[in-house]
Structure formats: C-alpha cells, structure tokens
C-alpha cells in the first residue's frame, strides 16, 4: 500500500526521535493505516466527546458469582430456606434444581451510602461509596462459553472483537510502548479461551495481549540475544536491508510502518520487564493490595491488581484481569457454595479494595473505570443441596471510578433475587455505558465487516444514565 494521506517521514521528522511527544498521534496513525490496509471504513479517532475516563480495568469474575451472596441481599431466601422455590424455574444448565437456598453469609450496611455487602467482601465493603452496584443485569445465555463471549464481545458466538479491542480501536493507546488492550492472566482463562480477548474482524493490532506471571510475561518480549549489543547490531543491519528495499520499491506506508514497528518492539522489550517489576513499590502499597497475605491466591491477584494500576498509569486503554486458579473451581459453585465462594472472594477481595484505594489516592480513579462481575449470576434455588446453577436472568455487577456515581444501587431483582424486574440492564447496555464513559458513542463506533457496519452493541444498548456522575 503506497502512502497517500499521511506522510510518515514528515511526521517522524517533526518528532525528536521518531515518536517522542507525538507518541499517541503516531500510534493512532499506525492504527489508521492498519485499518486502511484492512479496508476499514472507519478509522480510529480521539474521543467523540469528552469522556470522564481514559482507561478501563475489568475484574472478570469467571464462573459467575452469586448475586444473592454478594451484593443483592434477599431475606426471603433465608426465610424460605429449604422450602420449594416460590417462582417458576427456567431451564438450567444442569437441570438438578433443588429447594430455596438462603445465603450462608450475613449482609451489613456500609459507608455513608449504607449499601449492604455480604461478609464475603469485607474489604470491598469499605469502598462501597465509590461503587455503583447494578443489581439488574441480564444476559442471554446460560452456558459459560456463550455467556463469556457475550459479556466480552456482545455476541454469544465465537469471533467478534472483545470490548477491550473495541476500546483500543476507538481510542488507540496512550502508551508508546505497551499494547492498548492487556489481559493479566491470573491463571484461569475463561471458557471460550483466548477468543474472549481477540480482535475478531478488527485488525490484529487491537487484540488483547496476554500478560502472565513468570519469567517471560509477554510472548516473544524477551530478547533472544545474550546482550543488547548483539541485538542492536542485528537491528542496525536490518535497517540497512530495509532501506535498500525502500529505495527499490519507492515510498510505501506499509513497509515504513513495518520498519517502525521494530522501534516499538524494541521499546516493549524494555518496558514490559520494568512494568512487571513491582519490587520498587512501597511496603505500604504492597500491603494494601495484599501482596503479603497468607492466602497465596490473594497474593497472586494482588500482583495482578498492582500491575493493572501500573498499566493504567502508563496509558494502557483497557486492562482485564482473570481469576487466579485456586485449585478448585472459579466462581462456578454448582456444589459446595460455602467453601467455593469463600475461597474465591478471599482471593480477590483485599486486592480489589487495595486497587480502588490506591487508584483513588493517586488521583487515577477519576480517569479509570473499574468494572466487576462475571458472565452471569447464580440461581437463588439450590442445585442439588449446596450449590447454585447458572442464572442469566438477574445478576449483579458493579462499576466504580471515572464518570460513575458512587454509592448507587441501580435496578432490582425480584424478592428472591432470581430475575431482574426493575431498570433491567442488558450486557449491551453495560457495553454502551462503558464506551460512553470513555467518550465513545456506541452507535458510532463501527467497523465494516461482511456487509454490515458492526458494533460492539450490535443493534442494541442504552447508556445507563442513572449510574453516571
């Protein structure tokens, strides 16, 4: 593809060493070219209007936490515990529906807002005045994989772009040496696999980069050469080879972008280890997140949350955290609810509270949307005797941070916590709201594929105005 609209060389010439102060513009330009190469009809752009937030941290509670055991208290369940369930039961994934199951956890009111939170989240409860709790979420799918795809991409089937991909497509990344959409893998990839984070029909630029704990946090980011000098010498030879190609084929945006990518890649090689090295954080900060907690999985998630903050500080657009692997199951307690939910909440509660507190203290919470929730909720009646089955008809998610009205409860389920009955919020509405917070009109963020201008929200979605600040 030959250059027409953008003159890379001119742009590079204006910037001290290629990118520098123009990093964001350059990233956008690059992505614009990628989109053009892909035949996109819409190129990325600055926010369509002034959004409150610049970044999103999505705390993905894989498996589906129970709303009635966390943020949506239902005394009636306890009153009717063990009795046949009082409402018509929809078909369930396991079809082993039992009796009404009261929550094993007590709820207490917290903060100035007096919002009730169960004993599963003692730390998050202290931040409740920053949360907008949506108790009326509804989904379309009872199966993990479909529901995961739906929550991530707005479609229950494989292949659509993840919302992190949409967000970075819409806004680009403000980081000059990190990808726009980062998935911090705590150990569990949700059913449906990496396609939950993929770029679908959007250019590969926007796909979620998986970061994991360990020696090599990002694929191919560790230099193979023994020394930087050895690699630098190779890159110098490479530049000469590439210059010779340009002299033969003439100006070419594509080739020049491909060359520039090596500069970016080189910076990523340095930036990622620096990012993951949290040893320089203060002892107080590390304690706040729970990096010294007794429970090893709390420590795992604490590190993820801390890295999430560092990513947001560096301008990464969308960060998603997956759950640590507890050795039992994620939030999917078809049986043994008491132990399973207790372990899962123990792993994430303190780190999440630490993240919210730290972001706030650093003034980052104003520009960061934090989203908590899973792919669906759980049934208020038992599966067998001590579990809960999947429930997409009414469940809870919460949002906090940039543009969110804290201390809010939005929507309600029926008196059993089974189905949303008031101010229902669909997954599309959630997506529309998140994009809105970033300054994007979800109806105008489109990409032409297969004959349609595709949207994250398909043809649906309303911004949930009631939870906006």
């Amino acid at each position: 593809m030959h250059r027409r609209l953008l003159n890379r060389r001119e742009m590079l010439g204006r910037c001290a060493n290629g990118f520098g102060a123009m990093a964001m513009t350059a990233m956008l330009a690059e992505q614009a070219r990628a989109a053009v190469a892909a035949g996109a009809s819409v190129v990325p752009r600055p926010p369509q209007f002034r959004g409150k937030a610049r970044s999103v941290i999505f705390l993905y509670m894989d498996g589906g936490p129970s709303q009635v055991d966390t943020f949506d208290p239902k005394p009636r369940l306890s009153a009717e515990h063990g009795r046949p369930f009082g409402l018509k039961m929809e078909p369930t994934q396991f079809n082993q529906n039992g009796n009404t199951l009261g929550s094993p956890w007590a709820f207490r009111r917290h903060g100035a807002s007096g919002i009730p939170v169960s004993a599963l989240f003692p730390h998050v409860a202290r931040c409740v005045d920053d949360l907008a709790i949506v108790r009326s979420m509804t989904g379309d799918f009872s199966e993990h994989t479909n529901a995961n795809y739906f929550m991530h991409t707005g479609s229950g089937l494989q292949g659509r772009p993840s919302m992190g991909a949409w967000a970075s497509y819409g806004l680009g990344s403000e980081s000059r040496d990190l990808p726009g959409f980062v998935v911090l893998n705590g150990g569990l990839i949700p059913p449906g696999g990496l396609d939950n984070f993929n770029s679908g029909f959007l250019p590969a630029t926007y796909q979620g980069s998986i970061f994991r704990a360990g020696d090599q946090p990002v694929a191919n980011v560790r230099r193979g050469e023994a020394t930087a000098e050895l690699q630098d010498a190779k890159l110098a030879l490479l530049r000469d080879l590439d210059r010779s190609l340009l002299s033969r084929v003439g100006d070419s945006d594509a080739v020049e972008s491909a060359i520039a990518n090596y500069e970016l890649a080189g910076r990523m090689q340095l930036a990622v280890p620096e990012l993951m090295e949290t040893g320089g954080e203060s002892a107080a900060t590390r304690r706040l997140y729970g990096m010294e907690a007794d429970y090893p999985h709390t420590r795992t998630f604490a590190k993820q949350c801390l890295v999430a903050r560092r990513l947001v500080e560096r301008g990464v657009r969308f960060v998603e955290l997956t759950c640590p692997s507890l050795g039992s199951d994620r939030w999917d307690q078809h049986s043994n609810l008491r132990e399973g939910h207790a372990n899962n909440s123990r792993a994430v509660d303190q780190p999440i509270a630490g993240l919210l507190t730290d972001l706030k203290a650093r003034g980052l919470l104003e520009s960061t949307v934090v989203v908590w929730g899973g792919e669906f909720g759980r049934t208020p009646f038992a599966q067998g005797t001590d579990g809960r089955d999947h429930n997409p008809f009414g469940f809870t998610m919460w949002l906090a941070g940039g543009g969110i009205r804290g201390g809010t409860i939005h929507g309600a389920t029926d008196e059993y916590g089974y189905k949303a009955v008031e101010n229902k919020v669909s997954v599309h509405d959630l997506h529309a709201t998140i994009l809105h917070l970033l300054g994007i009109d979800h109806t105008r963020l489109t990409f032409r594929f297969g004959g349609r201008d595709m949207r994250l929200t398909d043809v649906y979605g309303d911004v949930v105005g009631e939870i906006l600040a």
């Binding site: 070219r33 078909p91 199966e143 990496l194 993929n198 250019p203 190779k234 084929v249 669909s426």
Partner: protein, 1062 residues
C-alpha cells in the same frame, strides 16, 4: 433474546398528535366492526375520554416501542390502533375489551410479572394506570381512523434486484478498443488499459524477471522460487518463457496446498469445535486433503460446488488410484463450525448453528450476506426473510455423520449384488427348504411338533406411527451404509443365515428393517472420534434414520427384536456431552421372547423437530418394525408367552397340516404371510437340523441346491470392505421445511417457508425436490445459468489472490454495502470465460490472468500523475506491493532454511502450545515447535488454541467466511520475527546447512535463496562487515562459524524484503 425496551433519551422525537386533529376527532363518532360483524359505535364521551386521557398515555409511554413509528417494534405489538391492541403481540391480546383480567396490557402496567412489566424501565404513574384500566373496562373505545402504516419504505425485492448490479446476468462484453494496442497482450489488458486511458494514465512498465517469478511462485504455490528456477527463467530467451513458468507452477503439487488454504479461510476451517472444551471435529483434515487434491486436479468449479452442497447425493467422483468417494468429502465443510455442548435452549442453539452455516455458504458461493435476512428482510439487498428460511430448510433436512468414504462406494456395489442374489435365490432356497423338510415334518414325533405354532402376537393397532416398515416408502429408507439391506424386509421374507451350515434364520415376522449379519464387524479407524456419547458408538456405515418429525408425545416407542441403539437427533444437536441431553440416546438389550416395545423417553423435547438414527449394538442382531410416538405403550400389554400345548398328540395333529401347508406354499414360490404361517415358518427354520439331520440324504440334496447360493453370498461377503477411515459429511434426510421465524426467534415460528433458492434468482415458487432434503436441486440452482453470482464471485476471488485486490474489493459481499466493481466489464468477461469457454477450470482462468500484461507490471511506476489520479491503484496502473500472508511467511522460512518437509497431505501436526495458550480443552501435549517442518496448511487448527504466530500475521479466526484477510502492521509481528523461538531456530538451522564457502558467495546464496535476487556490492560488503563484527562480539574466532551466520540469517528473515512481494 428477550425483547428489551429502551427508555427514550431526551430529545428523541416522539409522535405527538397535533392538537387540532385531536380536537376534531373528539367530535367524530367512531365506529368499529365487532366479531359478529355489527358496527359498534362509541359515544362521543367515550371517544373524548380516549383522546384526552388514553391516547396521550399510549403515545407518550408506549409508542416508542409499540407503533408504526417505532424505530424498532418490540414484542410484535402495535398499540397505535384498536385492532393492534386487540390482536396483541407475541404473548397474546393486549386488550380484551371489558376484561381487566384478560387484558395483558393491564397486567403489564401493574408489573406483577417480571417478564411482563411495562414500560420496562419506568413504571406508569397511578393516574396513568387508572386511565388505562378505565378505558379497558369501558370496552376500549377508539375512533374510526385509517390504519396506521409504516413510514419507512417497504421491502420490494423486485425493485432492489433491478437497482443493484450484482443480480444482472453475466454479459459477454466486447473487448474494448484501446489507443496503445501494443500493450494489449490479452483481452484482460484491453479492459484494464481502456480504463487507464480514459483516466489519462498508462500502465507501469513490466516487472523484471526476478520480481515476476517470485511473485508468480508465491501466488501459485505459497513458496519462494528456488535460485535455480530464478536463474533458469532469467536465462530463458524464449518469448513465452513466462508461460513455461506459469504452467510449471500450475502443475506443482504445492499449487493445491496454496489454493486450498485460500478456500479454508472461506469455510472457517478448524479441526476442533471450540466452545468450552474445544473437542475435535473428527477427521476434519480429510476435508483439507480433499481440497488440496481438488485444486491440484483442477476439478471444475461447478463440480466442486456441487460436491460441497450435495457431494453425498451425486454419482461420486472417485479418487485416483482407489475407489474412495471424493465427492462426499466436500460436504464436510458444513460441519467445520463451532458447536455447543449442553445448550440450555437446544432450539436456539440450532438456529445459531444453522445461521452460521448458511452465512458461510452465502458468502462463499454467492458473495451475499444471507445472515442479514435472519430476523427481517435484508436491509439493503434483494434477499427476503423467506429466502433465508427457505434455505434453512435444506439444512434442517440434513444431518451429520462420519462417512466411511473409503468403503462406501465399494460396499455399495457389494450391497447391490447381495440384493440381486437374494432376490434371485430366495425362491430356489424356499423350494429347497420345502423339499428338504417335507419328509421330516411328515414323520416328526408329536413331541417335537408340540407347541410348534404358538398363538402369534397380535399385531397392535397403533396411532401416531412415525414409520412402519411394512408399508414405508423411500423417504423412510435413509441409510448410512447397507447393514439393513437396500430395502426393508417384507413379512415372510426368508432370512438367510451367514453360511450353508446355518442356511436360514427364519422368516421376517413383520415388515422390518433387519440388520444383515453379513455386515458385522465394520471397523472405522485411522482417526479421532466425536466427543461424548456419539463417539462411543460405532455407527458409521450402519445407521438407518427415520424421517424428520415434530415430537407430539413424551416418548418414542420402537417395536424391535434384538439389541440396538437409537439416537434421537433433536434439533440436529450432535455434540451430546455434559449435563444435558443424555436422553437423546437410548440403548436396549434384546427384549425377552423376541419382539417387544422399547421406550425412548423424550419428555423434554415435546414439540421439537427430530429424527431417529438406529444402529446395531456390536454384532447383535437387530430388527426394527415400527416407530411410534405415544405417551402409553402402544398396543396395550406386552406380548404374552407362547401357550404350552396340553397334549402333544392333539397338538401335533393340529400343527402338522399347518406346517405342511407352509412347505407347500414355499414349494410353489409363495412366502407365508398370515401371522400363523409366519410363526410356523420360523418354527421350521429353528428346527431345521432336527427335521433334516445333517447326515441325512435330504440334507445332502438340500446342500447341493443351496451351496451355490451361499457360495455366491460368501464370495460377496468376503469382499465387503470392513475397514475404512471416516470424515465429516452430510447425511441426507427426509425433506422438511423450516418456518419463517419472527425476528429470528425459534420461539416464534410463523408461516412455513418451503425450501427454495433465492427468489431474486430462481423465483418465488417452492423448489421441486425429487427426494430428501433437496440439496442437489439447490446445487443446480446455484450453478444454473440464471445465477450470475457463482461464476462472478469465484472469478473475483481468483483475481484478488493474484492482484492483491478483487475487482470487487469486498470479495464476500457483492451486495449494496459491498463495493462496486472497479472494472465491471472485465469482471463479466472473466466470469463468462470461466463458466463458458474455460469450462469452470480455475487453473485455466488463473493462467489467462497471469499471462496478461496487467499481472506482469512492476509495482513501481515512474508516472507521478498516476499516483495522484489513482492513489489506491483501483485502476491497476501498477502491481500492488503485498505482504505475504502468515502461512507463506512461515513456509518461506522453512523453505529457505532447508527445514521444509514438502510431503503432501495426512493428519495434521498437533499445534505447538506456548505457555500463553491456556484454557479449557488445552491438548495434553504440545506439537513440535518446528511443526515437524510441514507446511502451515498441515498444522492443526484448534479453535481455542490458534497459533499465535499465524494470528500475529492475520490468519483469520475461523468463525465465518473470510475471503479477504486483514493486513495489519503491528509490533507483535516484529517481536515474533525477532524473538519467536521457531524463527530463531530456523535461522540457526539455515546457518548450519550453509556450505563452506567464502563470505561473498554465502551472501550471494542468502540473497538468491531469500529474495530471489543478487546482492549489490554495497550490500555484500555491509553484510560481510556485520558477520566479522558479530563474530568478534560473540567471541567467535572464525567468522564463518554457524553461530555468526545464524544471526545473519535471522536478520534476513526480519528483512521486509523477505515478507513483501513487489
């Protein structure tokens, strides 16, 4: 999806009744027709109440979702006319005049039921509710007024067809005249040049030979040219040297690999089903190898399409050098999509799955977005919702199997011969039996005969028969294989035993599907199996399916003899695994005392569409006479045990004449038919050895007569091919039409949509279908001369892969939202050539394109005007500079490094798993980093574990047809080429394989191998200097050390020249 209601944001225009109009209507005397037909008039007071109180509430609070002005009508309910309110929506009448209890509107605004709380977000105020309650109680007064109409333009298929280019017939446009005729090597050039000249442009000069052969070799084989191939071409003085190159490349076996991979993008090729546990699509690679062979053999495209849509239904194309059925493998593409296990809503799951299949089919073969007509008529194209569901019918009438493609054809011939032998010999054997037994029966001791003819089980009279093999038609004889013969046995048919020592098993008591013991021991091997229950059963080539029905009872009942298995294929659900739907499988032991009813409880699936697939349980005998749907056991009590005869002598006296009469009838060539005679015949068969002892003279005579019969049978049986591989394929069923599903929801079936092709092409009439699903008729409609799309779409794809951009750039969408052709006449010229003179030969079409001057242009033009006038190169003033696709990059690395294993075909190399590829269904072990050196097309594609290297370079995620890949340009690509251990390893391998030679010769070798050209002097000295300095940095004394050259080779892999094609 639940209907949802949007709160109108402030500022959304709402319909307000103009005040004067409203006033006027207050004074009008409205009237309406009651059900009885009498006019009912409302008083002016009532109407005023409506206009002042009710209408404003409806308009303000309901009409944004429930009127003809709604942007999106919800629940199919109109509240902008009395008729609409009375008719109601999906859940029933909204208003029943006078009845608050029966009016759903009242229930909805009361919000007592969560599913029916309206308006969804903000409840009506109490005064508003009161107004509506009073209005309903009054009998819902409403003035007479014109029925409201949608303001948006309606769907007019004819107009749309008229208006858009893609539906027009393929023309054979005259080759245009051009000024610079010297540049016209082929008609293609005339078309291209004519456009350029009209824009005042000229074509770029020809590319040099090195560039051209590199371009052609990658385009046709996906591999770089070998240095000796480049040199030979450069040195070839003949004017048609390039022709020789193209012909050689078209004949290369790697051509098929390259073009198969293009096709695999369209059919979302993968070898696993994704979803939660990513189970195998068993033997999907057989389809991939089918593609490689088909492209290599240049199977005419019309045949290729026919094989995809109906390869199981046509006289098969047989694989060279074998008798394997190639054609049936084409139908595997339908089953390469995602599948869900344990779907809670099994019908919705089917709708989604079929939607994907149809969408893939529409984009691939027609360049149309059929999927956009699932919920409503297409928003832009001449495709109606009825078209969509008419096409859906072909798919719901067909199902999945693992077809034993290697044995099917061969065994089919054996089955036909066996059938012929049986028909020819059955009389002779009957007569021989009669002769052999007559003496024995006449002289048999009464004790032997006692109880010989028990009272037969009365044949139950039953209703709701799904199939009764006594009177079934061809639509009830749909079989994968031949284990049940070529037709049902008729009552009285002699059942031959396996050999002459057990000549007859008896006679068929009922018209029944009877498993022939000759077909025991089929073994399907050489591949993986379906996940879950389905994979545990050996069903291939021994499955009989019933017609498609809608289940009207809670159980199916099978009247059977012997052990067997039944799989109720409900809503075509086949990934039966996990907590739900285990009930689709039933397996039974032989009922005691012969025939009996087996119950298959399917209470959860009442009202669903299903058919049943029967298969034998191992080697056990199995006969199925009837399938009935019923709540109760059909025919009352189970059959009683045979009565014991009280007195042997009396009984014998009664029985002997019956037996003799049966023998007489056999001798005369008449099979027994009454229940009593059938029972007698079976008793005779059972006691054959006693009545005709093995050492007696009668037996010797009998043996002499039947020996040839059994000789023929055993000779045939010995030739049955018991072992075969299998592959995913279509299994034709009885035809059934789908309904038009309101807004795409399976819960809202509307009118039936008879199966047919697109109205815009084949007209609105239902298709005439001879038998079964009708896919063969569908294939013929797709290929009919009246359909311009099949040829145009494929010709355009071929062009895109050679020129980097289709004449229609949106190769999968020729509709209104696609791009118009840049050279419409050229497109038609090519489509015309393709399906006419070139006989649908892809290779011939490619050859014509490549031998044009247009293909041979350089990618650089010295005409600055051209770059200004045609910056996107739509007019083709030069060649496009292209980045290699993911597979070509990896294959080129292997080819250059010497690590390529160029063998064709075979099972896929398991995907190499990096630590980042996590999640459920992760394979137990990783494939080799090198992919065993095999080409990328042979690397396993697991939906949930896609190769990161392939993804980084834009290999598509296999979820829908992708005819044109993204070409992204991202740092992950640089990181992969810099640090991916595969790339680094191949560089080292290449370096180790370099012969010992001076540095300059090595550098020349590297350039020739990787870039197809010679280095300049400056390039040579630069690389040479690097090698020497890197040796120093590495602390290696010898600059020719492979460690040093591994770095050189690694830089070459990273060079843009390596991954770009100019």
């Amino acid at each position: 999806m639940m209907p949802r209601h949007a709160v109108s944001p402030p500022g959304l225009p709402r319909w307000r009744v103009p005040w004067p109009l409203l006033l006027a209507s207050v004074f009008a005397l409205g009237s309406l027709r009651t059900r009885a037909g009498a006019d009912v008039a409302f008083s002016a007071d009532a109407l005023e109440f409506f206009e002042r109180g009710v209408r404003p509430v409806l308009v303000e609070r309901c009409h944004s979702c429930h009127s003809h002005r709604s942007e999106k009508l919800k629940g199919n309910l109109y509240l902008d006319s009395r008729a609409g309110a009375l008719k109601g929506g999906e859940t029933g009448p909204a208003v029943v005049p006078g009845s608050l209890e029966k009016s759903l509107l009242i229930a909805a605004i009361a919000r007592t039921n969560a599913d029916l709380a309206m308006p969804p977000k903000t409840a009506l105020s109490e005064p508003e509710r009161d107004v509506l309650r009073r209005w309903v109680a009054m009998g819902a007064p409403w003035p007479t007024e014109a029925p409201p109409a949608r303001t948006a333009a309606g769907f007019d298929l004819g107009k749309r067809k008229e208006a858009h280019w893609c539906w027009r017939p393929i023309a054979n446009p005259p080759v245009p005249a051009v000024r610079h005729a010297e540049g016209v090597r082929s008609p293609i050039d005339a078309f291209v040049l004519a456009r350029l000249e009209s824009a005042g442009l000229k074509a770029a000069p020809p590319a040099d030979r090195r560039t051209l052969i590199r371009r052609a070799t990658f385009d046709l084989t996906g591999l770089p040219p070998k240095p000796e191939e480049v040199e030979a071409f450069v040195a070839d003085p003949s004017p048609d040297a390039f022709e020789g190159v193209v012909d050689r490349l078209l004949a290369s076996p790697h051509f098929g690999e390259r073009w198969a991979r293009h096709w695999m993008d369209l059919v979302r090729y993968a070898e696993s089903r994704g979803h939660e546990f990513d189970p195998d699509i068993p033997n999907a690679w057989r389809y991939r190898d089918y593609l490689v062979r088909a492209f290599n053999e240049d199977v005419p495209y019309d045949q290729f399409v026919r094989e995809h849509l109906a390869g199981d239904l046509i006289p098969p194309r047989v694989r060279r050098g074998s008798d394997a059925n190639e054609s049936i493998l084409g139908t595997g593409f339908w089953f390469l999509g995602e599948e869900v296990h344990s779907p809670v809503d099994i019908r919705q799951d089917e709708a989604d799955r079929i939607d994907n299949r149809l969408d893939v089919m529409g984009k691939t073969f027609l360049g149309l977005t059929l999927g956009c007509a699932r919920c409503h008529d297409h928003k832009f194209d001449a495709i109606s919702q009825r078209d969509y569901y008419g096409l859906t019918g072909f798919l719901v009438s067909s199902s999945y199997r693992q077809a034993r493609f290697e044995s099917l054809e061969w065994n089919g011939r054996i089955a036909a011969e066996l059938d012929a032998v049986r028909d020819a010999d059955t009389r002779a054997v009957g007569r021989a039996v009669a002769v052999a037994l007559r003496t024995g029966v006449a002289g048999a001791a009464p004790s032997l005969l006692a109880g010989a003819v028990p009272e037969p089980v009365p044949a139950a009279v039953v209703a709701d028969v799904v199939v009764d093999f006594a009177r079934s038609g061809p639509a009830d004889w749909m079989q994968d294989g031949f284990a049940f013969g070529l037709r049902p046995a008729r009552a009285g048919d002699l059942l031959f035993g396996p050999d002459a020592r057990h000549p007859i098993l008896g006679v068929a008591e009922y018209g029944a599907a009877i498993r022939d013991p000759l077909w025991r021991g089929l073994k399907t091997e050489g591949g993986s199996r379906d996940a879950g229950r389905l994979g545990n059963w050996d069903r291939s080539e021994q499955t009989l399916k019933t017609r498609e029905i809608r289940l009207a009872a809670d159980s199916l009942w099978y009247f059977v003899k012997g052990a067997g298995r039944a799989y109720a294929v409900v809503d075509s659900h086949q990934m039966v695994n996990g907590p739900l739907h285990g009930a689709l499988f039933a397996e039974w032991k032989a009922p005691e005392g012969g025939w009996g009813w087996v119950r298959h409880s399917l209470g959860d699936y009442r009202g669903h569409r299903l058919h049943v697939e029967f298969s034998p349980a191992g080697d056990a005998d199995l006969a199925i006479a009837r399938v009935v749907q019923s709540e109760e056991r059909p025919g009352g009590a189970p059959p009683a045990a045979a009565p014991v005869a009280p007195d042997p002598v009396a009984s014998a006296a009664r029985v002997r004449p019956i037996l003799l009469a049966v023998l007489d009838a056999w001798a005369a060539g008449n099979p027994p038919s009454t229940p009593r005679d059938l029972a007698a015949a079976n008793w005779l068969a059972e006691h054959f050895d006693a009545l005709c002892p093995a050492d007696g003279p009668a037996r010797a005579r009998f043996d002499a007569v039947v020996a040839p019969v059994f000789g023929r049978r055993s000779a045939l049986a010995a030739r049955i091919r018991k072992v075969s591989a299998s592959a995913p394929a279509m299994f034709d069923g009885s035809g059934i039409d789908e309904f038009v599903l309101s807004r795409g929801s399976p819960r809202k079936p509307g009118e039936p949509a008879p199966r047919r092709f697109l109205e815009a092409i084949s007209g609105p009439e239902p298709m005439r279908i001879a038998r079964g699903a009708g896919r063969l008729e569908l294939a013929e409609a797709v290929l009919a001369p009246g359909n311009p799309l099949a040829a145009r779409v494929m010709a355009n794809r071929a062009w895109q892969h050679l020129f980097g951009r289709g004449l229609v750039a949106t190769v999968d969408n020729f509709g209104v939202l696609g791009q118009a052709p840049s050279h419409p006449e050229l497109l038609d010229h090519l489509a015309h050539r393709f399906r006419g003179p070139l006989g649908w030969s892809l290779k011939s079409l490619l050859r014509e394109m490549m031998l044009s001057d247009a293909y041979r242009m350089a990618s650089r033009t010295d005409d600055p005007q051209a770059e200004r006038t045609d910056p996107e190169n739509q007019l083709l003033h030069r060649a496009n500079l292209r980045r290699l696709d993911a597979e070509s990059i990896r294959d080129a690395i292997l080819s250059v490094s010497g690590g390529l294993d160029a063998r064709l075909g075979g099972p896929s190399i398991p995907v190499h798993l990096t630590p980042f590829m996590e999640g459920r269904g992760r394979p137990g072990s990783s494939g080799p980093l090198s992919g065993a050196g095999r080409r990328s097309v042979y690397q396993e594609v697991r939906r949930n574990f896609l190769s990161p290297l392939m993804l980084a370079f834009d290999a598509p995620i296999p979820f829908n047809a992708v005819g044109r890949r993204n070409v992204s340009n991202v740092p992950a690509q640089a990181l992969a080429l810099m640090n991916d251990p595969f790339v680094v390893g191949q560089a080292a391998q290449w370096a180790r394989a370099l012969p010992r030679e001076p540095s300059g010769a090595r550098i020349r070798r590297l350039y020739e191998t990787a870039f197809g050209r010679l280095p300049t002097e400056a390039e040579t000295s630069r690389m040479d200097a690097f090698a020497r300095e890197q040796a120093r940095r590495l602390g290696v004394g010898d600059p020719s050390d492979p460690r040093v050259w591994a770095d050189v080779c690694h830089v070459v892999f990273n060079a843009k020249e390596f991954i770009y094609l100019d």
